[in-house]
Subunit: 350 residues, 2 copies
Amino acid sequence: MDLTERKKRILRAIIESYIQSAEPVGSKAIASSIGMEVSSATIRNEMADLESLGLLEKPHTSAGRIPSPKGYRFYVNELMEEHKLSLQETERINQALRLKMQELDRVLDQAGRVVSQLTNYPAFALSSGMSRVTIRRFDLLMVEHNAFIIVVMTDTNVVRNRLIRLPTDLTEAQLQMLNTLLNATFTGLPLDEITPELMRVAQHAAGEAYGLISLVVSFAMEVLESLEQRTVHTSGIAHLLELPEYRSLERAQPLLSYLSEDADPGRFPVPKDAAMKILIGPENVADALKDTSVVVASYDIGEGMRGVIGVVGPTRMDYAKITARLSYLAEGLSRLFGHGELPGGSDDHK
Amino acid sequence: MDLTERKKRILRAIIESYIQSAEPVGSKAIASSIGMEVSSATIRNEMADLESLGLLEKPHTSAGRIPSPKGYRFYVNELMEEHKLSLQETERINQALRLKMQELDRVLDQAGRVVSQLTNYPAFALSSGMSRVTIRRFDLLMVEHNAFIIVVMTDTNVVRNRLIRLPTDLTEAQLQMLNTLLNATFTGLPLDEITPELMRVAQHAAGEAYGLISLVVSFAMEVLESLEQRTVHTSGIAHLLELPEYRSLERAQPLLSYLSEDADPGRFPVPKDAAMKILIGPENVADALKDTSVVVASYDIGEGMRGVIGVVGPTRMDYAKITARLSYLAEGLSRLFGHGELPGGSDDHK
DNA sequence: TTTAGCACTCATACTACCTGAGTGCTAAAG
DNA sequence: CTTTAGCACTCAGGTAGTATGAGTGCTAAA
């Protein structure tokens, strides 16, 4: 798509004005914007051209123009200038990283919350799923004669635990034996290779304590399952209502519902390749997002995992500012995790 | 407050009709409701009486009456009949308990989600904080020569863990020594008794490995902190928009914002004494809830902790149905935890 | 190629008006 | 003393007509 320099300037002026005001912008407004030395009629002609190129749209005959998704795409790809974060902004993000991540108990969730506060848009956060996780090791810790703790660690260095109480007593030796057996039999296996036969063999080998095998293994399977299935966290969805485009409930409700019904992930786009991705309007797969834009960034969690944070908003969102903030934050998160400092690949929580 | 039998019947009819329709109910409607053998004029007189008692209100002169908060309170206390759960309803709840709690990684959160689905109202869930939790035991598990897992267990039987990587290597013996030292020094202490002096003494005793002490202990402190500080989870807030009273954004927005800004707990009422509590309109402390009703139930999590789940809705919510469902679910949760079955006092999660 | 002028479009706001549900009061009937 | 019928009155909500003004496309002149 080749445009004259003037057309580009006009398009950009329109888009940036619309991003600010959410109102269709007319030829007069552009003509009087500084640096435009032509009359409104000329602008009108140019705008007509831009419209026939599919970059602009008219809500109705006698309104100004608004950018089309294609227009935003062109803007994002070619017109948009890098937004420089102000010192205050970077400071605010750094502070959020420091402050939040200390007391953080769920990294992802918290990251999403920070993004939402930072951008004033609803945000979502998820971990990019890793398939074929396996258990690397089991540890059984005796607590009392009738209670012990299972600790499992995966090959991605995630550690999970559970306290188990028993109706019967148990000796330290039995627990040791069980521990060895588990490590010998069930480590290194992905979820779908933990078969009932395998279980039966192990239970046979366990002798008296055969019942415990299934307890521990099913916990391990739960862990594997929960890791393969990503969960999404959304936050700040109430921000939507502050935007003029969502002042009417008909518009707001479907999107709100879509964002707040957790559970099934995969509803949100995940950048496979790039670190950052912008999806404008109909570029989104999900129907509920067809009228919105999504900006996603991914960051390195370490241990082969990636975290994904994203922002959902109207197509007229301030891409320059949002991408700047998001990428700065994502970098910060990468660094934070990269250091292997605080949360590492571990977990803590509740 | 003493009312004639007829006044009670009328009040009840009005409230139940309003709960259904959300529209002011007039004298005619009541008169023609079966079992009322008097004319609308008589009803009007009675309604005027009920209004002067503060049990009813008029939105404006020529509309019907709506119940006042006081009216609802009277209804809840004296008029409401026990709602019997249908077989389908109990089955649905049981199923939710079974299904959801299996794959559950955050009990509270999930409980809230179930409630919201069950009632079609926004729900919140939190654990009633327990003060003065202490660490019962530490376990350090060697993973590699430069990495180990901390597992701590509190006296309330919550288990948490974290993976620690080190820049230097570590011998099994050192880890053992550290483990013993930790258990000797830091168990049985509430958060505020873990003083810097204590740390210094322990670090001195640890010799070479003194740096690890602070790592492990600060993790333990994090755990204690996170347990004393309750967190809230809200879910299903989009359900609000389905209700006629929140079809206008002015009404909906403040409440939505209130519900979705997580972080500070204590925003939600917690039943101190009873198992179930109903707060109607102005009975709520929080300003944002002055126009809403809240129904909360608490359930036994075991190990001295209680969970709290609650529902937020308009004052005209169907108290009979909601309380029935909530208390059945709370019982189910109590039983589920009581058995020490699945999640027990433990944790797993992400 | 640019500009001024002009007729035309159409969403939005405003006004006036009507309708109907519901009320309170009064006076008669039980 | 209670209940009922009748009637005037109130008032939110809907409908219709009208004005306003921002913005457009087209034409013709610069």
